[in-house]
């Protein structure tokens, strides 16, 4: 399991080297896989990243603490909110600022909506990767309904820049709760349809069951977290194990599976979407309607954060997402490191899982790991 894949003699003429990506419709985001194939079987895989590298961690060292908050959300394009939350949490931890309870509820709502939107997009992706493009059409549209909610709440569809260190940037708009419930109902109805069309689909089942099996003992050494890990039978979730925000006040179940293949991972995510909707409904019902949504802040223009270091993690859609930050007491941070789950899932794990699969299943396998290349490279 930990040995490198056996060396392959390309000059023997039995093998063909294939580049999948970065310009390839079956690849998630902008990365590439270097496949060695024998017939249509993949015998070796190398992952290549770096196409999306922007040097965020360096850019952040040049920006003040408030200026960093619009920057971080762009680290993971389809799922910016977790970055916003984690950055805010890290800064709050280092400065000792506490965001007020109302902000905590709004943040939770925001994160869970983001998770749902992100899962919807992923659900479309897994559908499309196995030829079920109708599901893709449906889910992307329903994700758009959630983006409408975000637009209303935060002022933007993709990069919300809403969770600011100290709280959130504004109260929820008038009538938001009703519109949000309406969207949740629609999504829930869609999910039931998707279950029938995708998860009960003989094609999907046949192709995904057994594909990309992650052995249980591989999980910890490879740093596999999130639904990928839960599909392998571990019941671990930071929302339960190290609750942050208001997760300790919400009722939800941990979803696990044991098969640890593409189908199991998909099914875990599918059930987690239902749990997400459940949590969102609780948020809407129980959220405080008044009180401050921002802590008392210093003048942010020259905000000096005391020297210190900290690591804060949260359970994002794909697993553990963490921010490690070192400050030296100046207006600029000394070092930040963003730990995204895509890094471990898409690079080392993918290289292992791809071996022995069919070329046609590579796209589906990748999607089943749910990785975002912009987050790998930052």
């Amino acid at each position: 399991m930990f040995e490198p894949n056996p060396p392959i003699d390309l000059s023997s003429g039995k093998y063909l080297k294939l580049w999948q990506g970065p310009q390839h419709p079956g690849i998630t985001g902008n990365m590439s896989l270097e496949l060695i194939t024998r017939g249509d079987e993949v015998v070796d895989c190398k992952t290549h990243v770096g196409y999306l590298h922007r040097g965020f961690e360096k850019l952040m060292e040049r920006r003040t603490f408030i200026q960093n908050f619009p920057v971080v959300c762009r680290i993971a394009v389809p799922e910016p909110t977790f970055n916003e939350y984690l950055y805010a949490a890290v800064v709050e931890e280092l400065t000792g600022i506490e965001s007020p309870p109302r902000a905590e509820w709004i943040r939770t709502l925001n994160l869970e909506l983001m998770r749902l939107a992100s899962y919807l997009m992923w659900l479309g992706g897994i559908g499309a990767a196995f030829g079920q493009s109708t599901v893709y059409q449906w889910t992307v549209t329903h994700r758009d309904y959630i983006l409408d909610l975000f637009e209303e709440m935060t002022g933007a569809r993709i990069y919300h820049m809403y969770i600011v260190p100290g709280g959130v940037r504004g109260r929820l708009p008038e009538g938001f709760e009703d519109r949000c419930r309406d969207v949740l109902n629609r999504v829930e109805k869609l999910l039931h349809d998707v279950e029938k069309v995708l998860f009960n689909n003989v094609v999907f089942k046949t192709r995904t069951k057994g594909l990309g099996h992650i052995p249980k003992e591989m999980v910890d050494p490879y740093g596999i977290t999130g639904p990928n890990q839960r599909a392998a039978g571990f019941s671990r979730d930071l929302r339960k194990d190290a609750p942050y925000l208001v997760y300790d006040q919400l009722e939800f179940d941990l979803i696990t599976a044991t098969e640890s293949d593409t189908y199991a991972r998909s099914w875990v995510r599918y059930l987690e979407m239902h749990e997400g909707i459940r949590m969102l409904r609780q948020c809407l019902d129980r959220m405080p309607q008044d009180g401050p949504f921002q802590a008392k802040m210093p003048n942010v223009l020259h905000w000096e954060v005391p020297a210190g270091e900290t690591y804060i993690k949260a359970e994002c859609t794909r697993g553990e997402y963490g921010y490690y930050m070192v400050t030296d007491g100046s207006e600029y941070l000394r070092r930040v490191h963003v730990r995204g789950p895509s890094y471990t899932h898409a690079i080392a794990l993918m290289e292992k899982l791809a071996v022995g699969t069919n070329i046609a299943d590579i796209a589906g396998l990748m999607v089943s790991l749910h990785t975002y290349p912009p987050e790998i490279e930052r």
Binding site: I66, D148, A156, Y159, G170, R171, V197, V203
Partner: protein
């Protein structure tokens, strides 16, 4: 594989009968949400402070000068220019906008083939979205700046009226840092400060706790920092951008915070005392803030400076006009001592014209700086003013400053609404008198500083606005005096001046006091300038009209201070002195035409 798995996917057809998702006309039918962060708009309230520019992490905002803007105090004349090849619509600029003029529309479509076209100046360029009424605004309860001032510890009204102890106690180090932290460093104040002090820079030194650097910055433009840290008229604070949504930064108190933390003994070490003599001499007439400021900057440049002062001590109006509960003597001395320690020669009790002729000074020195100030109180010029119980405000303050009892009695009427009137009233309160302040106009027209007015009221002075004195009479008790005053109606001035009070002769009042203190204004006295020079010097009313660098038509003579400017405050005099020092240096080194 079960049969269910084969059939179930056909469920997809059910959705074929539902309403399609497709937006018919997306561009027209889907405007941005009410809070959408679209393109920028800027309203007229913008004063070009540039805070948006400093917070923009993408350098998408440039402050550019805009033609045809209405000239306003505290307006830099710059407006933000946006580069939509940089902007990321985070709207931090909106959140930080000090005047709340900047906001976003919900317009979001801009497509063009020219990459250099995505520039515009918000608010002044005609953009298609300028009329949009929706879009992102900062929420009322969300702040990136601190709007409330850190209040300074002060004596209560009862405590302060009991003696001449300084009322304002100064910031603690923590308070000073908190207050300094509020500054957005826009620099609007620098343009408004008569001395153009490096305000944001010295505030930063307070924040960093580097008081020595702060002191050096202060002395670059103002050698009366301890004084100005207490009694400056702080025009800077009236334009401070933080004042648009909250309290302006306490710039004056922060200046004081620096000097309070540097002991007198360290001044020479921090600021240096090296002077390279250049062999030229300059005479300064008047040891007030203007004269001493000129003396300081001239001495720094190596001139041998002699200051001629009619009084026995230096400080001018700061010593004889400002009571010690606002400016303790030792604080004024702190400033003056350092200037004198550089080797400035002082000639006290030397009144030019009486003790030494003006022409002699003109001959002895390479240049002269004249800042004699306004020390002649204006007379009331109403019937009966020669009554012995009618005192002048300046005299009362002078007496108190020199330790004499002005003998105001138990019940005092102060006439006037300027700082001298307020000082006279508050001094009288401290001497145990009941005080009425009669003022011809409304309280909001009073030229005194607002806090002076507020504090005098707190200390129990009764302000009687719109009261015009018309006559002074003998009272039945010869130690008392009676004043007749009439109520005033305010009429607007057609020519745009301040509203004028008009006496209502049918509404007269009569009141008896132990004394009346007149503090209606003061004039200057320059009769010592011989008639032969008159034609070369320009005057308007009773003031000098100096040319560039405070120079008069008599080339060697430079003038400044209250007698040469219309603002009549210490900071303006200080700047006149500094400016004249630069002028004299240029003149004597041949760079300034005569």
């Amino acid at each position: 594989m079960s049969l269910k798995d084969l059939i179930s996917p056909f469920y997809v057809w059910q959705r074929a009968f539902e309403k399609p998702y497709t937006q018919k006309r997306p561009i027209e039918d889907r405007p941005g949400a009410p809070r959408y962060r679209g393109f920028h708009m800027n309203s007229e309230e913008c004063i070009g402070c540039g805070t948006c520019e400093s917070i923009c992490q993408n350098h998408a905002i440039d402050m550019v000068p805009v033609e045809g803007l209405e000239q306003r105090a505290g307006d830099s004349g710059l407006r933000p220019r946006f580069d939509y090849g940089r902007c990321c619509w985070c709207a931090l600029c909106v959140d930080i906008c000090t005047t709340r003029s900047l906001h976003l529309s919900n317009h979001y479509a801009w497509v063009t083939e020219d990459p250099d076209a995505f520039h515009f100046t918000a608010g002044t360029d005609a953009m298609p979205w300028n009329q949009n009424s929706l879009g992102y605004r900062r929420d009322d309860d969300y702040h990136l700046l601190v709007h409330d001032r850190v209040e300074m510890q002060a004596l209560s009204a009862e405590e302060s009226v009991a003696g001449f102890d300084e009322v304002m106690r100064g910031y603690t180090e923590e308070e000073a840092v908190l207050e300094a932290d509020r500054c957005v460093e826009c620099g609007i104040c620098v343009a408004t400060c008569p001395a153009h002090m490096a305000i944001p820079d010295y505030i930063r030194t307070v924040r960093k706790g580097d008081y020595e650097a702060g002191l050096r910055l202060l002395y670059e433009t103002n050698p009366f920092s301890s004084t100005c840290g207490r009694i400056c008229t702080h025009r800077c604070e009236t334009v401070c951008v933080m004042g648009y949504q909250g309290d302006p930064i306490a710039i004056r108190w922060l200046k004081r915070a620096i000097v309070d933390r540097v002991p007198q003994e360290k001044y020479r070490e921090i600021l240096g005392d090296e002077v390279e003599e250049n062999g030229k001499t300059v005479g300064v007439i008047g040891a007030g803030p203007g004269g001493m400021s000129a003396a300081y900057y001239l001495r720094r440049q190596g001139y041998a400076v002699t200051v001629y002062e009619a009084q026995a001590r230096a400080g001018g109006m700061l010593r004889y006009g400002v009571p010690s509960y606002r400016l303790p003597d030792n604080q004024l001395d702190k400033d003056l001592e350092y200037i004198r320690s550089l080797g400035v020669e002082m000639r006290f009790n030397t009144q030019v014209g009486r003790d030494i002729p003006f022409t002699q000074l003109l001959d002895e020195h390479d240049a002269l700086f004249l800042a004699v100030g306004l020390n002649q109180p204006s007379a009331l010029r109403i019937a009966g003013e020669e009554h012995p119980r009618v005192l002048s405000g300046l005299r009362v303050l002078d007496d108190v400053a020199s330790g004499k009892d002005p003998g105001v009695g138990k019940r005092v009427a102060v006439i006037g609404g300027g700082n001298v009137a307020m000082d006279a009233a508050r001094v009288s309160r401290r001497l145990g008198a009941e005080v009425d302040v009669l003022y011809r106009r409304r309280i909001e027209d009073m030229p005194a500083d607002p806090e002076e007015i507020r504090e005098s009221q707190a200390e129990g002075c009764t302000l009687v606005p719109q009261a015009i004195p018309v006559e002074i009479r003998n009272a039945s008790d010869s130690n008392q005096v009676t004043i007749v005053w009439g109520e005033a109606e305010m009429v607007a001035d057609d020519k745009g001046g301040r509203p004028r009070p008009v006496l209502q002769e049918d509404r007269m009042h009569e009141e008896t006091y132990d004394c009346i203190i007149a503090a209606i204004g003061q004039g200057g006295q320059i009769d010592f300038i011989p008639a032969e020079f008159r034609d070369r010097i320009e005057f308007k009313w009773n003031k000098f009209v100096p040319g560039d660098y405070q120079q008069t038509g008599l080339e060697k003579l430079f003038v400044g201070g209250d007698i040469a400017n219309s603002r009549a405050d210490a900071i303006s005099a200080i700047e006149d002195g500094h400016h004249a020092a630069r002028g004299i240096h240029r003149f004597l080194s041949g760079a300034l035409d005569g």
